[in-house]
């Protein structure tokens, strides 16, 4: 078969000049390019089976009462109504998750930025070594990390309290009282997430043209002034990307908290995702699916708010104008 050239892009003006193609001509065109479509079809087939179908099934499930092996019973918005107005854990899990978001996001990203700036310093000896060290937690199993933290932070037998005891402090109930438990989770998440965050910031820092710093130096700018007037504005798009992805990651937080505190003490570290899993494992599938969509709505809302309030951070031009 002779090679077929892909269809040329159609300009807006040419669309206006011609009749809208009918279904037959679209199909004919597709048949003409069937080999091309065949080669890109695996992705779309997999996406339809593992992406679109579960999504549609989830929507249907959230509007139904269902048990595996039985027909679905349509209940409309009843599952959402039950969750929003009577679920004893939704409010608590939402508050816990938002609270974690409020302190983990700034401290995590801020800490990673500081480390990235330090690693970016030209005169730092052993940069490669430190980069590897910071990145190691990322390639370590979350389960192993959580178990190790659990042992380190055990109130009576953990090493942390043992060391604190040597200097006359503690014991601190790291995992069994609300504030210490939240601090423990924060430490664990920072430890696990710092590697990737540093790596991304480092990439952003290294993409900044050195000439900008040289120009700033000639103008007499100090290192601090260079950071706030050159570095920070130029890495804001990356920062915004990280704020959004970290927010989504934190709202979907599950394994580390499940393993470290199991939502305790007394439900004060229960996250939204943990509650959704609880509903699913207790075979309340309709409510579980509804909970998932409520979480999706929360993620969407927070992301939209972040994009609205930080819209100026998207482009380098926008940042330099500020």
């Amino acid at each position: 078969m002779a090679a077929k050239a892909p269809p040329l892009p159609v300009s807006r003006s040419s669309v206006g000049a011609h009749r809208r193609p009918d279904a037959r001509s679209v199909l004919r065109e597709m048949w003409k390019h069937r080999t091309d479509y065949l080669f890109i079809s695996p992705f779309y087939i997999l996406f339809a089976v593992f992406g679109i179908y579960p999504l549609l099934f989830g929507i249907q499930l959230s509007l139904s009462r269902w048990q595996p092996g039985r027909d679905m019973t349509w209940v409309g918005l009843q599952n959402y109504q039950t969750l929003i107005f009577t679920d004893p854990e939704l409010g608590r899990a939402l508050l816990n998750t938002l609270a974690m978001l409020l302190w983990i996001l700034p401290t995590g990203l801020g800490g990673a930025l500081i480390l990235a700036v330090m690693l970016n310093a030209r005169r730092l000896a052993g940069r490669g070594f430190f980069r590897t060290i910071f990145f190691l937690p990322f390639v370590t199993s979350q389960v192993i990390v959580a178990i190790v933290f659990q042992q380190l932070l055990d109130k009576n037998y953990g090493w942390v309290n043992l060391l604190l005891g040597k200097i006359g402090l503690g014991p601190v109930p790291w995992l069994t009282e609300t504030i210490p438990a939240q601090i423990s989770i924060t430490l664990l998440l920072h430890w696990m997430g710092i590697g990737t965050n540093v790596l991304i910031f480092l990439g952003a820092l290294q993409s900044i043209d050195r000439e900008l710093y040289e120009a700033a130096e000639i103008d007499g700018a100090t290192s601090t002034q260079q950071f706030f007037n050159v570095t920070f504005p130029l890495i804001r798009p990356v920062m915004l990307f990280m704020v959004i992805t970290a927010t989504i990651g934190l709202i979907n937080l599950y394994a580390p908290v499940k393993l470290l505190t199991n939502g305790g003490p007394e439900g004060t570290t229960l996250t939204l995702f943990m509650r959704m899993i609880d509903l699913m494992t207790s075979v309340r599938y309709g409510e579980g699916a509804g909970f998932g969509f409520i979480m999706g709505g929360i993620v969407l809302l927070i992301t939209l708010l972040q994009m609205k309030f930080l819209s100026g951070w998207w482009t380098v031009e926008g940042n330099l104008k500020q």
Binding site: M1, A3, T35, L38, F39, S41, P42, I45, L46, V49, R65, Q67, P68, G69, R70, T82, T86, P88, Q150, Q151, D154, K155, N156, Y157, P173, L175, T176, N262, G264, P265, E266, G267, T281, S282, V283, R284, Y285, G286, E287
Partner: protein
């Protein structure tokens, strides 16, 4: 041979890949309908007595690795050479069951189900009704275990692992403190007093009480709750009863234990927990018989306490109607869509209603509920944990005789047990009165139970 161009090769390869993907997405061929397959809830005829060699087929079982049912499967294959028994390696088989149910195919023939899930899944109508085979042996099975598989007058599984709690304790550590021995009729307040003294003098604990009120520590509430005649729900599972007078009294007993400060505050099965046991810092604990297997794996030398434990009835709680409670324990179930119910029932019957099957599962470490075995061979069961010469099986039987037939492990039991850690610590610390705390706990379970039951309809 005509050379194949790169384009032609890619085209054929692409077509093949797409066809494979499409084939994988197509629904699997429906299994051939079995005329013997019962509808959900339909009672099958009792299996005819089978003689050696008559049975044939393949049985697939899902459960944790190193399982007593696996041992029974090997013995079954020996007896019926035409039967193949398989247990694939899998972790979360309960979740796999849900997936198979949703997919409409791929269910195993049998799974090892927690008591709470048996009643829940009987409500869902997904379990095989095994009333005929259980009824045939009803008089030979421990009554308290039978009730766990009963729902609306029918049996939905073969009672598996009988789990009465005893008090396990170390005479050497208690005597080192200059107190004891713990007599069989010791009262609860005397026991707590002894626990304080043992803790003060040897730093060892006579019970486990994790401050998060999880794991083995929950028994400090669950034992008196059961002993006093309490129930988390009524027989139907509809009404939640845990915050009644009995529940509040049981919580009062748990708080008394907490207030002594003498309990072992370590997460159940955590390294500190095993560390404390091996370093002789645990002088006693409420425990079911199946814990023996786990203890024996960890406690492997006399220095760690091997061969130094005793077991006996739990202390006497004022107003108690029993001196034990049940914790854990599973049931062997199959599914209503199973295409070979006769073979499944024959296996269940062999495993828990014959001396041969009971011996194999008993040798593994669980306590099968088959009374003729309990009365004869159980006393010879092997163990390394308890003192040589200590009649530990006799003590288990004593506890078994204390088990109640009116204790229900409906779906609400699972919700209530899972929520103990959320509500109890505040009551123990005195931040909430027992009355208010139990009311809050009861209301939570009531709300969650109602929603669960609604979703099962």
């Amino acid at each position: 041979m005509k050379p194949v161009s790169r384009r032609e090769f890619l085209k054929v390869a692409g077509l093949g890949a797409a066809a494979t993907a499409l084939a994988a997405c197509a629904p699997s061929a429906a299994p051939a309908p079995n005329p013997a397959e019962p509808a959900a809830g339909e009672v099958k005829e009792a299996p005819a007595a089978v003689s050696s060699g008559e049975l044939e087929g393949k049985l697939v079982f899902w459960g944790h690795q190193d399982h007593p049912i696996y041992s029974a499967g090997q013995a079954f294959m020996k007896k019926y050479p035409k039967v193949v028994f398989e247990q694939p390696e899998m972790a979360e088989w309960d979740k796999a069951v849900e997936s198979a149910l949703a997919a409409g195919s791929g269910l195993p023939d049998m799974v090892w189900h927690e008591a709470t899930n048996v009643q829940r899944d009987a409500r869902r109508g997904i379990l095989l009704d095994v009333t005929d085979v259980v009824k045939k042996h009803e008089a030979e099975l421990a009554p308290a275990k039978l009730s766990e598989a009963l729902y609306q007058g029918k049996y939905w599984g073969m009672p598996g692992d009988i789990t009465p709690n005893n008090l396990w304790w170390r005479p050497d550590l208690v005597e080192k403190a200059g107190v004891g021995p713990i007599t069989e009729d010791i009262k609860y307040d005397e026991f707590l007093q002894m626990a304080k003294e043992v803790k003060a003098k040897t730093d060892a604990s006579l019970f486990v009480m994790e401050e998060t009120f999880d794991g083995q520590g929950t028994l400090m509430f669950a034992v008196p709750f059961y002993a006093l005649g309490g129930n988390f729900t009524d027989e139907t599972g509809e009404q939640v009863l845990l915050d009644n007078e009995i529940g509040m009294q049981a919580m009062e007993y748990a708080k008394q234990a907490w207030d002594t400060g003498a309990g072992l505050n370590a997460g159940w099965f955590s390294p500190p927990y095993w560390g404390a046991i091996k370093e002789n810092k645990l002088a006693g604990t409420y425990s079911p018989p199946w814990m023996r297997g786990f203890f024996q794996t960890e406690v492997t030398t006399p220095e760690q306490g091997q061969g130094k434990w005793r077991n006996q009835l739990v202390p006497v709680y004022p107003g108690a109607v029993a001196r034990t409670n049940v914790w854990g324990g599973a049931t062997l179930v199959s599914f209503s869509t199973n295409p070979q119910p006769d073979l499944v029932k024959a296996f269940m019957e062999f495993t828990f209603c014959t001396m041969e099957g009971a011996q194999v599962t008993g040798d593994w470490g669980i306590i099968p509920p088959y009374i003729p075995w309990l009365k004869s061979e159980f006393k010879n069961a092997k163990q390394t944990l308890f003192e040589a010469g200590w009649d530990w099986t006799g003590e288990v039987v004593k506890a078994m005789n204390q088990m109640r037939n009116d204790f229900y492990r409906m779906p609400g039991y699972g919700i209530a047990y899972g929520a103990l850690g959320k509500f109890v610590p505040a009551m123990l610390r005195g931040e909430k009165s027992i009355k208010d705390g139990m009311k809050e706990y009861g209301d939570y379970v009531r709300s969650e139970n109602a929603k669960l039951l609604e979703s099962l309809k």
